[in-house]
Symmetry: C2
Amino acid sequence: MKVAWAGSRETLELSDRMAKLVANDPVFEKFTRPMLGRKELFKNTLRKAAHGWKLIVDLRLTEEEAKWLRLYIDEPAYTDLHWGMFIPAIEGQGTEEQKKKWLPLAQKMKIIGCYAQTELGHGSNVQGLETTATFDPQADEFVIHSPTLTSSKWWPGGLGKASTHALVYARLIVGGEFHGVHGFIVQLRSLEDHSPLPGITVGDIGLKFGNGAYNTMDNGVLRFDHVRIPRNQMLMRVSQVTKEGKYMQSDVPRQLIYGTMVYVRQTIVVDASKALSRAVCIATRYSAVRRQFGSRNGGPETQVIDYKTQQSRLFPLLASAYAFRFVGEWLKWLYMDVKQRLEANDFSTLPEAHACTAGLKSLTTTATADGIEECRKLCGGHGYLVSSGLPELFAVYIPACTYEGDNVVLLLQVARFIVKTVSELGYKQPVGTTAYMGRVATLMQNNCAVRTAEDWLNPGAIVEAFEARAARMAVACGRQLAKFENPEEGFAELASDLVEASVAHCQLIVVSKFIEKLQQDIPGKGVKQSLEILCYVYALFLLHKHQGDFLAVGYLTPKQALLANDQLRTLYSKVRPNAIALVDSFNYTDHYLGSILGRYDGNVYPKLYEAAWEDPLNDSDVADGFHQYVQPILKQKLHSAKL
Amino acid sequence: MKVAWAGSRETLELSDRMAKLVANDPVFEKFTRPMLGRKELFKNTLRKAAHGWKLIVDLRLTEEEAKWLRLYIDEPAYTDLHWGMFIPAIEGQGTEEQKKKWLPLAQKMKIIGCYAQTELGHGSNVQGLETTATFDPQADEFVIHSPTLTSSKWWPGGLGKASTHALVYARLIVGGEFHGVHGFIVQLRSLEDHSPLPGITVGDIGLKFGNGAYNTMDNGVLRFDHVRIPRNQMLMRVSQVTKEGKYMQSDVPRQLIYGTMVYVRQTIVVDASKALSRAVCIATRYSAVRRQFGSRNGGPETQVIDYKTQQSRLFPLLASAYAFRFVGEWLKWLYMDVKQRLEANDFSTLPEAHACTAGLKSLTTTATADGIEECRKLCGGHGYLVSSGLPELFAVYIPACTYEGDNVVLLLQVARFIVKTVSELGYKQPVGTTAYMGRVATLMQNNCAVRTAEDWLNPGAIVEAFEARAARMAVACGRQLAKFENPEEGFAELASDLVEASVAHCQLIVVSKFIEKLQQDIPGKGVKQSLEILCYVYALFLLHKHQGDFLAVGYLTPKQALLANDQLRTLYSKVRPNAIALVDSFNYTDHYLGSILGRYDGNVYPKLYEAAWEDPLNDSDVADGFHQYVQPILKQKLHSAKL
C-alpha cells in the first residue's frame, strides 16, 4: 500500500530518504516553534532555509530530491515563493534573453525573488490591480508607482523581509493608454546591505492565524514612489513594448498562462491529499489509543475507533485522502497532456482542463480544510492542544481555500463552463471530464436500478448515479437561466445553485478517477481490495451527504438512498481492521506529523504529560505576576495595590 | 432592534454601560495580545483580572453588572472558573454548613478555586475517572490520590497557576468499597507564598490553539500523592460519609445535578449567539466595504455583499445568530421553570428539559464554530490576518464543541430520549418540545401542501414541515432499532443515523421558538418585519441544506423543495437593505469586536496598513538573522558560514 500511495517504488524510496534526512537533523526540530515570538520564529526559519539550501548544494540533491526535502522541512519560508513562483514565472513569461540573464542569478540564489501580484484592495480581480507601470520613452524606462493606498502590494510571501527582487504585476501605461496587467522584475533591496532602495517602502503585514503556522513567512506590504526600471525588465514573451513606445503582442499564444494555472492547481490538489492524510493519520492512530466508556466487568474501555459515530466521521476522510491522492496523480497526467498539446498549438482541450483543475482545486482544498478541523474534533479535548499538531496543521493549511483562486469564485468559473457545455450540446461534442454530458438524454431518462444494498457495490451503478445527478443539475440550471432576459443577471441571481451544480460535477470527477485507478493493475496482497472498499466509502458517503441532490433530480428513490446508507455502515466495519495499516502507508515520520497524539509508537499520554512541563509558564512554581496581581486580591489588599 | 436583541431596554442600557467602561479603559487594551509570549500574555491577564475585580469592588457593581464587565473584558481568565464553576458547585452540592464556611471565602476571593474533573484519560466518561478518595476512619480524613498517569487531572481552567483550591472529582472508596464519583474541596497551594502543598504536583498543560485565544488561561495538570483532607471537605449535600465510615444517600434528589446542567448549557447557548453575532458583524460590515469585480465604465466595483454567493453564505448565519439569541432567551425561561418544579419535587419535565438543552448546546455550538470560520472565509484573504479578529474568535470559541459534553455524545443522548419517547407513545403523553410527537399519526400521513414559493411564507407550513421530518426520522430509527435483538447493539450500529434524527429534532426546536417569539408583541418600527424575514431565512436555509431528509421521508416533493429555494433567494434580497442595521443592533463596541475589518466607521484599509507596521518584524529594515542566514547565500559564501 505504501507504494500505491507514493505512486512508485522509486518515489517511495526517494521521499523516505529525504524524510529521514530531515527528521534526524536537529536544525529542523519544530516542537518549540509555536512558543517562539515572531522575531525569533522568523530568524529560526531563515536558519532552516539556509541549512536546507546548504544540504541541497553539499549533497548535490536533484531538483526532485530538493522538493521533497523542502516539503519535509515543513515550514513555510521565503524560498517557497522563490522556487515555486518567481523562477517559474520568469521561465514562463520571460524572453530567451531575459531567462538567460535572470535565471542563473535566481537559481544560484544570488538574488531572492517573490511574486507581487495581490494588493490591499484586489485579490481575485487581477484586472482591477491599481499599481501602474508607465513607459517613459525618453529614459527607455518604466516608472512603477502605487497611486492609492489600496494599490499597496499586500500578502506576497517572502516580500516583507527576505526578497531582493519582486516580480511586480502592474497596469501597463504606454503613451497614456492602458494595456492591461503585466509582470515587471523590480529590485527592492540593495545587494550590498539589504536596505530598501529609494522609492521603495517594504515591510511585513503582521500576524496571521495560528501559533507558528504561516508566521514563519514574511508576507509583505510594498509601495512604490515612482521607481524606475529599465525597459527590458518587463517580462516580454507574450507582449512587448518597443524602445519607441509601441505596444505589441507576440505570436506566443496567451493560452500558455492557462497551462501554468493547470500546473499550479494540480500541485495544490496533491498538497491537499498530503495535508488531509496527515490529519487523518493523527486522528486514526489516536482513536485506536484513546478509550472511553463501555468497560465491562472492570476491563478496558472501548477504543473510540470502534464507535460507529467515530467511524462515520473518520473513515470518509481517510477515503477522501486516498481519493484526492489519485485524482492528483491523474491531474499530473492531464497537465503533461495539455502541455504537449499546447506545444503542438492544439488548444482544444484547454478550457475543459482549466475548468477541471479549477474545480478540483476548490473541491479538494475545501474538503481538506474542513477535514483537518473534523480530525481535531475527533481527537476530543486533546486535539485543542498545540502538541496534537492539528491546530497548526489547520492554521497553516486554510489559506489554500483562498489563494490561487477563491474556492467559490472558482466554482462559478466551473459553472460557466458547464452551462456553456450544456448549451452547445446540439453541435459540439463535450470532451474529457465533461464527455458524459454527451449522453445527457439517457442520463435524464434512466433512473437508478439498485434493489439491494449489495447492488451498490458496483462501479457502474455508482458512476451512473453521479453522472445523472451532475447532468440533471446542470440541465436544470440551464433551464432556470433561460428564463432571464439578461444572462449575466441570471447568472448572478442563480449563483449559489450554480455552485451546487459545479460541486456535483467535480465530485463525479473524483469518484470516476478513483474507480479508473482501480481498473489498473495494483500490486501487493490485498491492496486493491482495501482501496476498493475506500472507493465505495468515498462514493457512498458523498451520496448520503448529498442525497438531497440525488432525490431532488429524481434519480434515486428514498428506498435506494436508504440502501446506500445501509451499505455504507457495512463498509465502515470492513475499513476498521485495516485502518491503522492504511494510515501507516502514508509513511510519515513522527517529525513530519509533528503530533504527540499521532505518534507511531502510540505512547501518547506519557509524552503529553512530559511536553506540558516544557511550557514557559512552568519555568517557576509561582507564576510571574502573582505577587503583583493575585496576592493583593487574596490578602484583601487590592485597594492599595499598584496594578 | 437593539432592544429586541438585548432582551429589554434595561439590559441594553446596563450592557452598554459596561461595554463602554471596558472599551475606554487602557488596561483592557487587547490589540497587542497575540504578539505576547506565553508568560507576558498570562501576566497581562492576571493584571486585567485584578483590575476588573477592583472595578467591581470600587464601583460596587451588581452581580449582573459584574457578569457583563467580565464578558466585555473578553479574555479567558482563572476568574471565569472561580465564579462560573467553583462557587456554583459549592452552592449546589455543599451542605448548609459547608456553604457557610466556603462561600464567604470564595466570594471575597480570599481563596481562588477551580473545577478539577477532567483527567488525562477521561473526559466524557465521568464515571471512569480514576482519581481516588479513600476514607481513613482513624484520622477522619480522605486520602486523595492519583494512582495512574492517566488519572492526572488535565484541562481544568485556572488550575495551572492561579488557584489556591480545587473542587476535585474522585472515586470514593469507603471500607474498600467504591461508591461512585464525588466532589472534594482540596487546597492546592499555600495561602502564604502560593507554593504547591506537599503531595501536590501542579502546572500548566501548555499551548492551545491560536495566538492569544485560550492561552491567557492556565489550564492545568494536577497529581496527588496521598494528599489528606478532613472528612468535611467532601461535598455532602447529596451523599454523606459518616465519621464511622458509613456511606449514605441523603433525601436530596440526585436530579438536582441535572438542574445545574440545564443552567450551564443554557448559558452556552446564549454565548453561542454572542460569538456567532460577533463574527457575522465583522463579515457583514467588511462585505459592505470590500469591492471586487463588476466595475462599469471605470466606476467603483461591486460591494461583495451584493453577490448572491456571499448573501447565501452570510445571511443564514445572520439569521442563525438571531435564532440562537431567541432560543437562548427561551431556555432561560425553561431553566426557571425546571428550577421551580424541582423545588416542588416535580421531576416530570426534567428528562425532556435535559435532552432539549443538551441538544441545543450541541446544535448551536457546532453551527457557531463552523459559522465563525465561514465568516472568516467570507472576508477573503484578509480574514486570515489576526487583526481581522476572526482567527482569535475561532480559536477561543471551538472548545465549546467539546467541553460540557462532546457535541456528538450529546446528540446520542438526545437520540436515546427521542427513541424512548416514540416507543412510549402508546401510553405516555410527550411533553414540552416533544409534544408534537403526540400527533405522530397525522405527521406520518399528511404531506406538504405548498404549491407556490409564496406558500412558504407561512409559519404553520414551516413548523409542520420540520415536525413531520423530525417525527418521521425518529419513527424510522425506532423501526430500524426494532430489528436488532440486542437494543444496545442496534443503538451502536445505527449511531450516525440517530445523530441525524437528533439534529432534525433540535432544528425544529430552534425554528419553533423563533416563530413563537414573533407571535409576541415586538415594539419598534419595522423590527418585527425584519425578524420575520430572518426567521424565514433561517428555516428555509435549513430546509434547503437538509432537503435530503425532507425528500427521503417523503414529506416534500422535489418541486416543493425547489419552491423553497426560490423563496430563499427572494428573501436574501429582502435582507440586504437591512443587513448593516441588523448587525449594528448587536451594539458591539470596536473594542469588543477586536477587528479592523469590522470597524464601525468602515475605515478598514488605512487601519490595516497602519497596524502592519506594529509587528515586531518591522522594528528594523533588515531582519534579525539576515546577516547570519541570508547574506551568506546571496554572497555565495554558504560553505564557510556558521549556521
